[in-house]
């Protein structure tokens, strides 16, 4: 007999899935803006290891020459990104969900153990609750990153009226670089997230859609009895990310 186990509250599922297309629009429109002055590269001196992005990339995705359009989309969807993110944070605070999400002292050690386990470098899998240490760190970091994007975004958007924000970000050009690096962070997060979701399997993915996990139960317990039934817990809570 299997049993169902609550996992993701309805509100969090909505915030999660709304954020997905909204963030996609923000990254796409941000790229339309970046095209107009695509100066960032990774390298030292005159040697360039990586340039964001080659012209072929712009041509392939029809990104070139759309600065005004990019700004329009960006400055409309910034509101949705902001509101959805704020509601999510408020929800986690008031529902108490934050306790499951914010890393504690153990999380960092656990994160290393989980990573070693995931890469098959260690056989030890630390016991976990709803989220393991690595997840707690990642899901908290992504919120801090979102906050960083809002702040650096404001610093670039209105550097004179909000000059103290720009100053806090280390100036206009620095704010712009941080804003860009955070975007790369989202893309990397997305890639790792997708990989992990695929590895974790259907049950885990479904939990983000319907809210529950289907979990094996070792003992077959009759579902309807007159009297309370006490079950001795022998089942290891085997929830994957």
């Amino acid at each position: 007999m299997k049993r169902l186990e609550k996992k993701h509250p309805l509100a969090i599922r909505w915030f999660h899935w709304i954020n997905f297309p909204v963030l996609a629009i923000m990254i796409w429109s941000g790229t339309l803006i970046y095209w107009a002055n695509d100066v960032y590269r990774i390298g030292f001196g005159d040697k360039t290891l990586l340039k964001f992005y080659p012209d072929s990339f712009y041509k392939a995705f029809h990104i070139d020459g759309r600065l005004a359009e990019g700004m329009a989309w960006h400055f409309v969807f910034m509101w949705f990104f902001f509101i959805n993110g704020m509601l999510y944070v408020l929800y986690t605070i008031f529902s108490g969900e934050w306790r499951l999400l914010v890393p504690d002292k153990k999380s960092f050690k656990e994160a290393i153990q989980v990573t070693l386990y995931d890469f098959h470098l260690s056989k030890f899998k630390p016991p976990q609750g709803k989220y393991n240490g690595a997840q707690k760190i990642a899901y908290t970091a992504i919120i801090i990153m979102g906050f960083g994007s809002l702040v650096t975004g404001l610093a670039i958007y209105k550097p004179i009226q909000w000059s103290w924000v720009t100053w806090l970000c280390g100036g206009y050009t620095t704010a712009r670089i941080i804003h860009f690096i955070l975007t790369i962070g989202y893309v990397l997060f997305f890639l790792i997230h997708i990989t992990q979701v695929i590895l974790a399997g259907w049950n885990n993915f479904r939990a983000m859609v319907v809210g529950f996990d289907v979990v094996d139960r070792k003992e077959n317990i009759p579902m309807s009895t007159e009297n309370p039934v006490l079950i001795e817990d022998e089942t290891e809570n085997e929830t994957k990310p």
Partner: protein, 329 residues
């Protein structure tokens, strides 16, 4: 949201399960042990969080609906399948709606090159930003030594190459006036000179510290009694006397910008005739250009031919190309 919701802590009429699903420690009390006094209404999450790692959770009954009682694996499977299908439909429906919404916006008639719905929100953004506008917010200043020796030349819009600096004259049309005032460079240079070294920001994303000299636009306006319906000098007492906008055009009319009067009269806005202490270079808009530090560079029109004042928003070249009108920083 049609999706059946979890029953979070509160009881729904007709739901005879008891919400004490999570008991402490290693024992779990099946929810069916009804009829004893309900435990004090504790928010569900508190229990869940208190002992997240060691506790077995069985929320099966919370996902039970009245028609499908979950009594065995088959009925559980049925419920799971039904809820999964509904959940996926809702999710895919939401994403599809999003894609259609996106396509819908892209097919809306454009308002000055920006898709209609986006333009509406851009205009709204300007209203929001105006709430935060303070005249005292100045563009940060930099030491002159930090300024770019050869500032970037980014555009030649309105810069007709047959133009001769020697032939230049400035035409000024005041509000409520049909007379055009013609000025030459000497009359402008007679006014007090102001210099500014600031970080010039292009809407494309680059910025440069640049050093400019010229006449504050507010000094120019005050000197010639411009921008007021009464043709008297500006005064703080009568705001409705002041024109709402100033318009600027190149001599060939190819490039034109409008400024809200607050930005035009901003203490850092210059009618500029010097760069790096030398007369303005030809490709930097000689002999006279605008420098509006509180706006993106698209408002700092090169080679001013005409200045006028109006209560109606003047045409603006880049606004017509899909940018927002304010272009404020």
């Amino acid at each position: 949201m049609k999706e059946p919701e979890e029953n979070d802590g509160h009881k729904v009429p007709g739901d005879n399960t008891n919400e004490s699903g999570h008991s402490e420690g290693f024992y779990e009390i099946r929810p069916e042990h009804a009829h004893e006094p309900a435990p004090e209404q504790q928010p569900e999450h508190k229990n869940r969080i208190a002992d997240d790692t060691d506790r077995i959770k069985d929320d099966t009954d919370k996902f039970r609906n009245d028609k499908n009682k979950i009594t065995d694996d088959t009925s559980l499977k049925k419920t799971v399948r039904r809820k999964t299908i509904i959940g996926l439909i809702v999710l895919l429906g939401m994403l599809t709606l999003f894609v259609f919404g996106f396509a819908w916006v892209m097919h809306q008639p454009k308002d000055e090159e920006a898709y209609g719905p986006l333009r509406k929100i851009l205009d709204l953004n300007e209203k929001v930003n105006r709430q935060f506008y303070k005249e005292s917010s100045l563009a940060p200043l930099y030491p002159i030594s930090k300024s770019e020796k050869k500032p970037r030349v980014n555009g030649d819009l309105g810069m007709d190459t047959s133009f001769k600096i020697a032939d230049w004259e400035l035409y000024v049309v005041n509000i409520d006036s049909h007379d055009t005032m013609t000025l030459n460079m000497d009359s402008i240079k007679k006014l007090p000179k102001t210099e500014i070294c600031f970080n010039f920001k292009c809407i494309e994303g680059w910025s440069q510290i640049t050093f400019w000299g010229g006449v504050r636009f507010i000094d120019f306006v005050n000197h010639y009694h411009l921008a007021t319906h009464s043709h008297k000098p500006l005064s703080n007492e009568n705001a409705s006397d002041v024109a709402r906008y100033a318009g600027f055009q190149t001599p060939d009319d190819q490039y034109y910008v409008g400024l809200d009067m607050a930005s035009a009269l901003h203490p850092q806005t210059l009618l500029c005739y010097e760069m790096n202490g030398k007369p303005l270079a030809y490709d930097q808009g000689a002999p006279l250009r605008l420098i509006v530090p509180v706006k993106y560079g698209i408002k700092s029109l090169k080679r001013i031919g005409v200045i006028f004042f109006s209560d109606r928003r003047p045409a603006d070249y880049w606004y017509e190309q899909g940018y927002d009108y304010d272009a404020a920083l």
